[in-house]
């Protein structure tokens, strides 16, 4: 078990295995997102109340899922890095942050644009919207902290602490629709009950969510490999790699 974890934490081993895994996730992401988009945009029936503006759900919900999942992944990586000093966990956490921020922005933007025809307003200071805005600031804080130190180790530790503390915001986002009165509708996906949407609307949404997750995994593998090249540039095996690339 420990040998396995040690191996997993080795940048050299990760660089090799991620090269083999990466294409599968890119292919899955491409197929799922293309199929989900065509299905959601052109084939899913229009909502009887919202009309075609409801098609925003197919980018809004997957982005909001990723925004939260990426923050949790970052916090878990931060714990692994702080407790076991596994460098690769910190590299992964570092490369995840910008995508998380982008997805939070997409969720907020698509929500605002959707709010205009649906609620008659693009913004309300209600619990769900405000906690998502805080998530965006947390991401920007993590990214800024990484750039604010001359020592990489200090930057990593500061960003890890913010990720571990900031993760408290995630349950707040999730339960905000139950705890407070809010304009936002309740969860679209639940594990415990059957979907409240008709199947022909729900299936393309599921496909889009899976596509976005594949995209996240593929991009994180790719960028963690780049981060290895950046941080381990003095290692012999990385230099040999550069020699081969010539």
């Amino acid at each position: 078990m420990w040998a396995f974890i040690h191996k997993l934490g080795s940048p050299k081993w990760f660089y090799g295995i991620s090269a083999r895994l990466q294409p599968w996730f890119w292919v899955a992401a491409l197929i799922l997102i293309v199929v989900g988009s065509i299905w959601g945009l052109a084939f899913a029936p229009a909502d009887y109340q919202q009309g075609n503006s409801f098609r925003i759900i197919y980018v809004h919900v997957p982005a909001a899922f990723l925004a939260q999942s990426i923050f949790v992944s970052m916090a878990v990586s931060a714990v692994i890095f702080m407790v076991w000093k596994i460098k690769i966990a910190d590299m992964a956490a570092a490369v995840m942050a910008p995508l998380g921020a982008a997805m939070t922005f997409v969720a907020l933007f698509s929500g605002a644009v959707w709010g205009v025809p649906t609620w008659g307003t693009w913004w309300m200071w209600d619990a769900r919207l405000t906690s998502m805005l805080i998530l965006l600031f947390l991401y920007l804080g993590v990214i800024a902290l990484r750039g604010a130190f001359t020592s990489r180790d200090s930057a990593s530790r500061a960003a890890s602490v913010l990720a571990m503390v900031g993760v408290i915001n995630i349950p707040i986002i999730k339960y905000s629709v139950d705890w407070w009165y809010t304009l936002h509708q309740p969860a679209t996906f639940t594990i415990t009950s059957r979907p409240t949407m008709p199947m022909e609307m729900w299936l393309p949404l599921l496909i889009m969510v899976l596509g976005f997750y594949s995209f996240f995994i593929a991009l994180t593998l790719m960028r963690t490999r780049s981060e290895i090249l950046r941080r381990e540039a003095n290692k012999r095996w990385v230099r040999e790699l550069a020699g081969e690339a010539n």
Binding site: R55, I56, M103, V113, S226, V238, R239
Partner: protein
């Protein structure tokens, strides 16, 4: 198909600005991250190759006129 004509599809039942703005921003950001990640990787590989070349040059110069392969400089070839 939820639309009869292509015009209907683009019009989105009058919701075109909302639907296409949300989808457009999403697509742009997803594509942007991929383009950025590819550029980042290419740039890092170039930098690394340049560094290895420079150091092997310095190593041969340090070794004088004799073409001695130092372990540092020759590591890319004899490994």
């Amino acid at each position: 198909m939820a639309f009869d004509t292509l015009q209907d599809f683009f019009a989105m039942g009058g919701h075109a600005p909302y639907v296409w703005a949300a989808w457009g921003v999403t697509a742009a950001l997803l594509l942007g991250t991929v383009i950025h990640a590819r550029a980042e990787r290419r740039q890092l590989l170039r930098q690394l190759a340049r560094r290895v070349r420079r150091e092997s040059r310095l190593a041969t110069r340090a070794a004088g006129a004799q073409p001695i392969q130092t372990s540092r400089g020759g590591s890319t070839n004899d490994a």
